[in-house]
Each structure stands twice: as structure tokens, then as C-alpha cells.
């Protein structure tokens, strides 16, 4: 039941906001809908904790511990982002970068986007999963080009074409999956249901599935932002409005990776070797290293953190590729931590850029002098994302790196190199932004920093203490992914 609320609320929210337009309180309504979605997600989560995995809507939806925590995460970050975007967008309007119908578009597509992601997470049908992913892309394309600047249009175009092609390849993969499945499950609706496929995965035709996995990996991997398919990501993050960057890198990448993982489970079952795992490890390492070196060159703060998202996604993919209980656990943990931390960073960065009136880091100086909260938010967020304890990102990185050293020592030099370079680059660039002297003005509206510190607080807590039920989730999910 909750599932329909979960999907219905944001969908109707999207439609409503499209009609309501930019009258008074549109942002508040947006936040309200997100909040209701969060409630629904909480109820659903509660149900799952109570009753364990379940099918809904005669098998069309399947919720287990793997996707339910992503659902919860998505709803949460969506809500906080809505909170953040309220003052942020107002200030943007103040600065004359937006007008009313664009705000209408923004609010409507925001809700649609959330709905699409939740659908992608909860559906049991690999085909619908694909459809939802595509929908999520389409919903965000116009958000990326919201400012209608040449740069934003270019970014949106690249985003659309590259992800479109990627997603098309993913569809081909899905077709191949179906092609393999129908011989066992018979043609018709059930042949693409993940639960059914999971049941018979051992009998699926290996050659077809390996082929299918290549297409799925390249397809969804493009959306995850794995190098060398990542090219759209920095542009889209840098040119879109900050709330969009936050949800893109905090949520969309996770969902895409979720799709990859769902297919990996099947492929592993069918092939019985760790071909899929090795591919993912390769992609992961490449992404981590490449992103680390690209971070070094950045001058635009949002672009830099976009690359850092690529780096972390690479790390997560690498961990999933390693497989095993600890690595999967770590990867799931890292997913959570990265979403929370990175969105928090984007919130702080958003206000910082509004203060400075530029996204160039040379223009942003001495934040803690004029706006200590933004300054400390950015500083702590950066420290957290760089994997410094006691923040939770460290916990997952700790597990990932130690496991890597234990199981695949050959990979650790690359990790060491990349982490070092990334640390040097990011911290070296953020430090002068936060510290030092400045003459930046104050903001017209009170910035919404509650989300920042709420996220960071969560990350801090999870670094020192992971509640047992949460840990139990992660364990189940890790086990489900072949731990």
C-alpha cells in the first residue's frame, strides 16, 4: 500500500505544481510533497523492517533491504534538497537568473524526477527499471538547461545525447536479457521480473548474459559516470542549478548503480565466474584515478565536486566489483555516506557561489569570516568527503581499502595514488576558500544551512555508531548482492 503513496505523491505533486505554477508558496508546496514522500518512504521502510522483503502489486514491485534503504535515502535527500532549494531559488530569482515559468518547470520536473527514481528503485521489472531511468534523465535534462545560458544548454545537450545513447544500449542489454529469459520463463510479462530471473539465474544462457551485461554496464554505467563514459557529468553538475547538482550526484548516480547491481546479481548467477566483478573493478579503478587527476585541474568549484562524485562512484563500483560480504557492506555504506555528504557540500557550495557571485574558486575567499556557518559547513563537508574520520565516509573507505589490500593488493597503489592526489587537490583548493581574509557581501536571504549540518551530523553519527537495524539492513543487502 505504502508503495503507491510513495510513487503517487511525487507524481501528483509534479502534476499539481505544473498546474499551480509559480503562485505563492510553490517552494513550500514542493517541500511539503517531498516531506509526504519521505513519510511514505518511512512507513514502507518500517514495513520492510517488520516483515522483511515483499512483493507488491502482483509482482510488479519488489522491495527488499537493498532497495528500501536506497528508497529511504532518496526520499530523505529529496526532502532536504527541497528545503535547501527554497531560499536558494529565491536568491537566484533575486539575482535575475530565473523567472516564474522556469521555476514552475523546476518544481514540476523536480517531483517527476523523484517519482521516476523511486519507481526505478522499487520496480521488479527490468524493463520498467529501464523506462524509469530514461524518465529520470528526461526530467532532469530541462533542469540542467534551466538557466538557458549557452553553457547550460551545451551541458544539457551533452547530458541528453550521451545518457540517451547509454540508456539505449542499456535497453539493448535488457532485450538480450529478455531474450535469454523467455526460453526458461516463457515469453510474456513475467520474463523480465527480477525475482523470477533471480530464481532461475543459474539456467540462463551464459554467453547471452555476458553480452547483455556488457550492454547494461556500458548503458547504466554512463549514468553512474564511470570513466570513460563520464564526460557528461561534470558539465551537467557545473551548469545546472545547485539543487539539481545535489540530487544528480547524490541520488541519480546511486540509482543507476543500483540498476547495474541488479543485473550483476543475475549475471554472476548465470556465469558462475567473476567476469562482471572484474569489469566493475576495472571501471572503478579507472574512474578513481582519472577523476583524481582531473580534480587537480579544476577552477570551478561545482565542477570539482562533480569530479569528486565520479571518484567516489568509482570507489563504490570497485568495492562492488570486489564482492564479498565486507566489500559489499562497505560499498552500500559508502553510497549512503557519499549521497549525504556530497549533497551537503553542494548546499554549502551553492550559497558560497551565490555570495561570491561566481563559481570560480579564486573568487571565493575567507568564508568563515563573513558567513561562519557556510564556511564551516563547506570545510567539514570537504573533510568528510575526503575520508577523514570521525565522519562516516572514512568508515566505508577504511573497509574498502583494507579489504582491497587484503584481497587485491595490486589495486592499492592506484587507490593510494588517487586518494593522495584527490586529497591534495580538493583540500588545497577548499582551504583558501574557507580561511583567510575576504570582502564578500552577505546574502539577501538567510541561507538554509539546516540541511547541511543535518546531513553532516548524520554522517558523523554513522561514522561512530551505526544503529543495529541499519547495520542489519546493510548486511542483508550485502548478502543479497552475493556476499
Amino acid at each position: 500500500m505504502e508503495i503507491f503513496w510513495l510513487l503517487g505523491i511525487p507524481l501528483s505533486g509534479g502534476i499539481f505544481l505544473a498546474l499551480w505554477g509559480c503562485r505563492k508558496h510553490a517552494p513550500e508546496i514542493n517541500a511539503l510533497f517531498s516531506f509526504l514522500t519521505l513519510l511514505a518512504a518511512a512507513l514502507l521502510t518500517h514495513r520492510i523492517i517488520e516483515q522483511g522483503p515483499m512483493m507488491v502489486g502482483d509482482g510488479w514491485f519488489f522491495i527488499d533491504s537493498f532497495n528500501v534503504f536506497l528508497v529511504a535515502l532518496t526520499a530523505l535527500v529529496a526532502f532536504t534538497t527541497a528545503l535547501f532549494s527554497r531560499p536558494y531559488m529565491r536568491i537566484e530569482e533575486e539575482h535575475g537568473r530565473l523567472n516564474d515559468q522556469r521555476l514552475r518547470l523546476y518544481h514540476a520536473s523536480y517531483q517527476i524526477f523523484i517519482a521516476a527514481m523511486l519507481l526505478a528503485l522499487t520496480t521488479n521489472n527490468m524493463g520498467i527499471l529501464w523506462v524509469a531511468m530514461e524518465a529520470a534523465t528526461l526530467a532532469t535534462v530541462l533542469l540542467v538547461s534551466l538557466y538557458r545560458t549557452p553553457a547550460s544548454l551545451e551541458a544539457a545537450w551533452k547530458y541528453f545525447i550521451l545518457c540517451g545513447v547509454g540508456i539505449a544500449l542499456a535497453l539493448f542489454g535488457t532485450i538480450l536479457l529478455y531474450f535469454a529469459a523467455e526460453k526458461i520463463l516463457g515469453s510474456g510479462g513475467t520474463a523480465l521480473l527480477w525475482t523470477h530471473l533471480n530464481g532461475v539465474k543459474a539456467q540462463l544462457e551464459p554467453t547471452v548474459l555476458s553480452l547483455a551485461f556488457v550492454f547494461l554496464l556500458v548503458g547504466y554505467g554512463t549514468k553512474v559516470g564511470l570513466a570513460p563514459l563520464h564526460s557528461w557529468l561534470p558539465d551537467a553538475h557545473a551548469e545546472g542549478p545547485t539543487p539539481v547538482s545535489a540530487v544528480l550526484s547524490g541520488l541519480l548516480l546511486n540509482v543507476a548503480l543500483y540498476a547495474v547491481m541488479r543485473s550483476k546479481v543475475l549475471v554472476d548467477g548465470a556465469l558462475g565466474n567473476d567476469m562482471a566483478g572484474n569489469l566493475m573493478m576495472g571501471f572503478g579503478l579507472l574512474s578513481v584515478v582519472l577523476a583524481a587527476f582531473l580534480i587537480k585541474r579544476q577552477t570551478d568549484v561545482k565542477r570539482m565536486f562533480a569530479y569528486s562524485s565520479i571518484e567516489h562512484m568509482g570507489l563504490i563500483t570497485f568495492a562492488f566489483g570486489m564482492g564479498g560480504a565486507v566489500a559489499n557492506f562497505a560499498a552500500l555504506l559508502h553510497m549512503t555516506m557519499h549521497s549525504l555528504t556530497k549533497s551537503a557540500i553542494f548546499f554549502a557550495v551553492g550559497h558560497a557561489t551565490q555570495k561570491a557571485g561566481t563559481q570560480l574558486m579564486d573568487g571565493i575567499r575567507g568564508l568563515i569570516r563573513t558567513n561562519p556557518t557556510i564556511g564551516w559547513g563547506l570545510m567539514l563537508g570537504t573533510i568528510a568527503i575526503l575520508g577523514m574520520p570521525p565522519f562516516g565516509v572514512f568508515a566505508s573507505e577504511f573497509l574498502i581499502i583494507t579489504t582491497a589490500m587484503h584481497e587485491h593488493p595490486w589495486a592499492t597503489p592506484f587507490l593510494l595514488l588517487a586518494l593522495g592526489v584527490a586529497f591534495a587537490s580538493i583540500f588545497g583548493k577548499v582551504q583558501p576558500m574557507v580561511f583567510g581574509e575576504t570582502e564578500l557581501p552577505k546574502l539577501p536571504y538567510q541561507p538554509a544551512l539546516a540541511p547541511v549540518f543535518m546531513h553532516l551530523g548524520l554522517v558523523l553519527m554513522l561514522g561512530l555508531f551505526i544503529p543495529p537495524y541499519l547495520a542489519a539492513w546493510y548486511r542483508q543487502a550485502a548478502h543479497l548482492l552475493g556476499g
Binding site: P228, A395, T402, R475
Partner: protein, 672 residues
């Protein structure tokens, strides 16, 4: 938490945890006390000092009592924080508490003039720093250790950048944190190898893990790199001369006196406790690195002209000596010479303890000078002994101690170490017989140079005539500062006078690590590590004799001859225009050393030509390693990132080609 922590915990480890919590609470209450700076400096810091004292007590208890441990309800789900207090942690906690008490008492006076807001933050980081260090010593699983380790690094980074408006300080802090982080990652890898698999990271399982020599060596090298980066082992030392001067003096004192020792602790913990095989060449490596570090550090200390930078370099030297002792311990231990290993290990621990006290003392001394004059460059100081006698005399004790002069504490550890060299004949690896004399010579040379450095430091700063008229207004340090310095100085003296007792304390630690003990053949006032006719040293008698002779002479001279004294100008050699600027400058005093050891340095000189209207001379001796090691690394990374940037050049067609190529490649790769 209450059930694991009754109100009056019986276990020392629980006391320690309690103090950690107390410090954390103190730090965060400091944030609330932003309103009243008086309360901050007059209440928070003294309380923190009490905590340090308690930690020292706990450490002393930990030395004697059996191993105690608790498991906290925080941490990773499968891996709650394990805390454990054995003799090793106990000793280092004693060190920490002892030094930190004096330093914190000093700090309570030192920071009184600071603005409330920054002071509150500083108090928070300060106590987090202390707590982090204690947790490093207590941690009994990899995760807790790493968390504590990084908390320590992070809080000290924020302390270093307290005065973040100055760009140099920012870059110093950045360099510090960067190297600390790289070291930390290599420690992660260390534990990655050590772990039992399936995410079991407790030290207990690591102790049981059976290692092949290869993997054990990997662990050792990674640990040496990781901990060396924190300790300032050459060539990872570059952050140290930058960060220590940047930090406020009590912080420099903590970092140099205590934090560096946590790295030594970690090295000992991993090498002797967690690893259950040791290999001979490890020791040789450590010995070589340590000696190089010691020599390198003291040479550069001799040519510095910034007093805190000088002290930082001298810390590098002392760390080098300690690491050399560590190497010797390994050599002897793997060679089956347990007694010798015990001797060198004792020397190591003793020197660590000494360094905590005298380096802390010297740093806070420079702090008072800084407060009184606002000058760090020795070229503008001088003659302060007359304006701040307390600081001067107490600092003198520290200087003499670090110069390794009897009967102070620096001499004892040096003496023990040198004794170890004399006992080496009969090692199984013959090549060591050629290494040992050279090593001994290097240690002796470093010690002698340390004396040079200290004469320079004390002489230029406190003696002579003020090189700057403003110095005549220099005021003596406040009572809290004096108290802190007094405590540290007393530590230097007592540790020097009662070595026999100290060695008794060290016995459990030594037994724990090399399961052998150092028998003191002498009695309570005489130290005779091996046997009384082999070698002995009784500082107390020594002191009594010296003082006795001194008094006798004094009284005799007074008695027999008149004590008339006439004051006049110093003799100017018939050249009346002598003034204070004609004294040796700091650079001048270091000049011979620079001349002799110029190979290690990149010297930048700016000499005036004869016709300059206002001629000025500037000379800087820079660390050559920076230019031959670090800058190339930076260049290579730059180049690589440039190449990476090429991939991202805007044309969507190219991006499509990437996807296309990836797809084709994978298709071929998977279907062949």
C-alpha cells in the same frame, strides 16, 4: 554507556576513557563559553591540565597493573571500539600526561590575551587533540586506532591554522595535513595486510595472524612509511619545520613533544606487538634512516634563524636518534641478543620521555619570548636574560638537557644508547661490525652538533645585547606560564638525576616488547645497566660533587680574597662605534656549519654590492630534498593531470567515440 562505565570505574582503562570523555565535554563546553574569555583561559585549560595529570596517573597505573581492556558500544557494527591499556600504552600515556600537564598549565596563561571566539574554537581543538592522542594509545583495533589517529591529525591541523589569515600558515597547515593523510592511508594498507580477513580488525586477531616474511616486510615498510611521515623521518620530514613554527607555541610543544611520540608508539606496537616475526634487515634500514634523519635534522637546526624552526629541526634530529635506537633494538632482537635489545629499547623509551619534557619546555620558552617581543627571528632578539630571567634560566635547563649534558636527562638516554654500541661485538651478521662504529660516530656527532645548536639558540636569544631597542620593554612571563615551565624543567632535572628509578618503571614495557629486562646492577643512585664494572653513572653523586666543589671554590675565593667588583663598558678593542648589531647574527653563528655541510642545502644568498646605498644581506639555507624529491613529484602529477585533461576537450563526438570504443572493446573482450 552507563553499564560499561560505572561512576567509579575500577579499571585504569576506564579511567582513561573517562578522562577522554571529560576532555571532549570540556572542549564542547568551551564552545558555549564564547562569551567569557577569562573563564576559558582560567577554567577550561586548568581543568584540561588536571585531566592530563589524571592520564599520567593512569599511565603509571597501567605500567604496573595487569592489562585491562574494555569494549565501547560505538564504532562499526561488527567492530566496536576496543580499548586496551598495557604497559606500552601506559608508558606513553605517562609521557603524554606528564608533558601535557605542564604545557596545558602554561597554555592557560599563554592564551589569556586571545579573543573569545577563536579562543573557544582553539580550546575545542586543543582538547580534541589531547583526547585523540590518548585514544591512539588506547585503541586495540584498527578502526579505533585510525579514527583516533586522524582525529589527532585533524585537530592539530586546525590548531596549526589558528592564525589562518597568514598565507604561509595556511600552506604550512595544508602541507602538514596532506603528508599526515598520505601516511594515514599507508597505515590503512598496513592494517589491510594485518587483518584476519572477513572484516576482523581487532589487534588480538592480528597478533595471532601468521605472516610470510614477504608480507611481514610489506607491513613493516608500510608502517615505517606511515608512522615515519608522522614522526618526521627523512625524507617525509618537510612538513615539520613548516607546521611547528606556524602553530601557537603550546601547540608546537604538544605536537613536537607528544604527538611525534605517538608515531613511535605505533611503530613499536606494530613491529614488536602485532607482527610476530621480525627480520634483521628491517633494523638496519631503520638504523640508517634514523641516523640520516638525526644528522640531517641537527645540521639544518644549526643554520636556522627562526627560533621555532630551529627547534622543529632539532625535533627531527631527536626523532632520528629514537628511530636509530629502534633500528638497533630490531637488530639485536633478531640477532637473539635479548639483553642488548632491552638496553637499546630502554634508551629509546627514555629518550622519548626526555624529549617530551625538554622540547616541550623549549617550545613554551620560545612562546614566552614571542609573547614578550612578538619576534620569532633570532636576528632581532638578544639580551632577554636580563628582562625575563625566569624564562631564561628555565629555558637554559632545557637547552642544556637537549644538548645532552650531564647531569640532566638528555645525557642519560644518550649514555644508554652509546653503551649499547659498546656491547655490540659478536653480532652474527659480520657486516654489522662495520656499520656499528660508523653509527656510533654519527650519534656522537649529532649529539655534539646539538650542543652547538643549543649554544646558538640560547646565546643569540637570551644573551648578549638586545639587537632591537624595542626588546627593552620585554616583560617576564605570567605566573601560569612560569608554573608550566617550572614543571617541565623539574621533569628534565629529575629524569636526569634518578635514572635508576625511571628504568625500573620502564622494565614492564621492555619485558612486554622484547621479553627481556634490563637489570640495573647499581643501586638507587647509581645506574649500571649491564654490570657495575662495565659501566656506571651516578648523576646524583656527580651533581653533589660539582656543586660541592663549586661552593668550596666560591667560599674559598670569598674568604681568602676580597669580592670587589667594578662595572664598566665592555672592551671595544679601541673601536668606539661598537653596537648591538655587531654581535654574531643567527646566520653568522650557523655559518661554519653551513660552510661544512653545504652539500645538503640549497643556499640562497642576497649580497649587496659595494655601492649600495642601504646594503642588506640575506642568506637562506633551504632543504635540498624539497627540490630534488618533492618538486619533481609535483611536476609529474601536474603533467599527468594535464594529459587527463586532454581527454575532456568538449567535442561531443569524441565523447561518443569514447562510449563506442568502450562498448566495442568490452564486446570483444568478453566474447573472445
Amino acid at each position: 554507556m552507563m553499564e560499561t562505565l560505572p561512576l567509579l570505574p575500577p579499571d585504569p582503562v576506564q579511567w582513561a576513557w573517562g578522562v577522554v570523555l571529560f576532555w571532549l565535554a570540556l572542549g564542547f563546553t568551551a564552545l558555549l563559553l564564547q562569551g567569557s574569555p577569562r573563564l576559558l583561559s582560567r577554567l577550561v585549560f586548568p581543568l584540561g591540565a588536571l585531566g592530563a595529570l589524571a592520564i599520567a596517573g593512569v599511565g603509571a597505573a597501567g605500567l604496573t597493573l595487569p592489562i585491562s581492556s574494555i569494549v565501547l558500544p560505538i564504532g562499526l557494527p561488527d567492530l566496536p571500539f576496543h580499548l586496551r591499556l598495557d604497559a606500552l600504552s601506559g608508558f606513553f600515556m605517562l609521557l603524554l600526561g606528564g608533558a601535557a600537564f605542564g604545557i596545558t598549565v602554561y597554555a592557560s596563561g599563554y592564551f589569556r590575551s586571545m579573543a573569545a571566539g577563536p579562543l573557544a574554537l582553539l580550546a575545542l581543538w586543543y582538547h580534541l587533540f589531547l583526547a585523540g592522542m590518548v585514544m591512539v594509545l588506547l585503541a586495540d583495533d584498527a578502526y579505533a586506532f585510525m579514527v583516533a589517529w586522524e582525529v589527532m591529525a585533524l585537530s592539530s591541523y586546525f590548531l596549526v591554522t589558528t592564525d589562518h589569515k597568514i598565507p604561509e600558515i595556511r600552506s604550512a597547515g595544508f602541507l602538514y595535513l596532506l603528508i599526515a593523510h598520505v601516511g594515514a592511508v599507508s597505515l590503512l594498507l598496513t592494517f589491510g595486510v594485518l587483518q584476519g580477513g572477513h572484516g576482523d580488525y581487532t589487534f588480538d586477531t592480528m597478533r595471532l595472524a601468521e605472516m610470510t616474511p614477504f608480507w611481514a616486510s610489506v607491513v613493516y615498510l608500510l608502517a615505517l612509511f606511515g608512522f615515519g611521515a608522522k614522526a618526521g623521518l627523512v625524507p617525509m620530514h618537510v612538513w615539520l619545520p613548516e607546521a611547528h613554527p606556524a602553530a601557537p607555541s603550546p601547540v608546537s610543544a604538544l605536537m613536537s613533544g607528544v604527538m611525534l611520540k605517538t608515531a613511535i608508539y605505533g611503530l613499536l606496537r606494530v613491529t614488536f606487538d602485532l607482527l610476530n616475526i621480525q627480520i634483521g634487515w628491517w633494523g638496519t634500514l631503520a638504523l640508517a634512516l634514523g641516523l640520516i634523519t638525526a644528522l640531517y635534522g641537527v645540521i639544518f637546526a644549526a643554520v636556522q634563524s627562526d627560533m621555532k624552526r630551529l627547534l622543529a629541526w632539532s625535533s627531527i634530529e631527536n626523532i632520528g636518534v629514537i628511530i636509530a635506537a629502534f633500528g638497533l633494538t630490531l637488530i639485536f632482537y633478531t640477532d637473539g641478543k635479548g639483553a642488548l635489545a632491552a638496553l637499546t629499547l630502554t634508551a629509546l623509551l627514555y629518550h622519548a620521555l626526555n624529549h617530551a619534557f625538554f622540547k616541550g619546555l623549549l617550545f613554551v620558552g620560545t612562546g614566552s619570548v614571542l609573547h614578550a617581543t612578538g619576534v620569532r627571528h633570532m636576528g632581532h632578539l638578544g639580551g632577554l636574560m636580563r628582562f625575563m630571567p625566569w624564562t631564561a634560566w628555565l629555558t637554559l635547563i632545557g637547552a642544556l638537557a637537549i644538548a645532552g649534558l650531564p647531569p640532566l636527562n638528555g645525557f642519560v638516554s644518550e649514555w644508554l644508547l652509546l653503551q649499547a654500541f659498546l656491547l655490540t661485538p659478536g653480532l652474527t651478521q659480520p657486516y654489522l661490525n662495520t656499520v656499528i662504529p660508523v653509527a656510533a660516530a654519527t650519534v656522537a656527532l649529532a649529539a655534539a652538533l646539538a650542543a652547538y645548536v643549543m649554544v646558538k639558540f640560547f646565546g643569540v636569544v637570551f644573551l648578549g645585547q638586545p639587537r632591537d631597542p624595542a626588546l627593552h620593554e620585554a616583560h617576564e612571563a605570567g605566573w601560569a606560564e612560569r608554573l608550566g615551565m617550572l614543571w617541565l624543567a623539574a621533569g628534565c632535572v629529575l629524569l636526569g638525576l634518578f635514572p635508576a628509578q625511571v628504568i625500573d618503571w620502564l622494565t614492564p614495557v621492555v619485558r612486554l616488547l622484547v621479553n627481556q629486562t634490563l637489570v640495573n646492577d647499581g643501586n638507587w643512585l647509581m645506574l649500571a645497566p649491564v654490570s657495575a664494572e662495565r659501566a656506571s653513572y651516578a648523576p646524583l653523586i656527580f651533581l653533589v660533587v660539582v656543586v660541592g666543589v663549586l661552593l668550596l671554590t666560591f667560599l674559598w675565593v670569598r674568604r681568602v680574597y676580597h669580592g670587589r667588583v667594578r662595572r664598566s663598558d665592555p672592551w671595544d678593542c679601541g673601536y668606539p662605534e661598537q653596537d648591538a648589531r655587531m654581535q654574531d647574527s643567527a646566520e653568522g653563528f650557523g655559518q661554519p656549519i653551513r660552510q661544512i655541510f653545504e652539500v645538503f642545502m640549497k643556499v640562497e644568498r642576497e649580497t649587496p654590492d659595494p655601492f649600495d646605498r642601504n646594503p642588506r644581506y640575506r642568506g637562506a639555507s633551504l632543504d635540498k630534498l624539497w627540490f630534488i624529491l618533492y618538486e619533481p613529484i609535483a611536476r609529474v602529477t601536474d603533467w599527468l593531470s594535464q594529459q587527463a585533461g586532454r581527454l575532456q576537450h568538449g567535442r561531443i563526438q569524441w565523447y561518443l567515440i569514447y562510449s563506442f570504443a568502450t562498448l566495442i572493446f568490452l564486446l570483444i573482450f568478453t566474447t573472445r
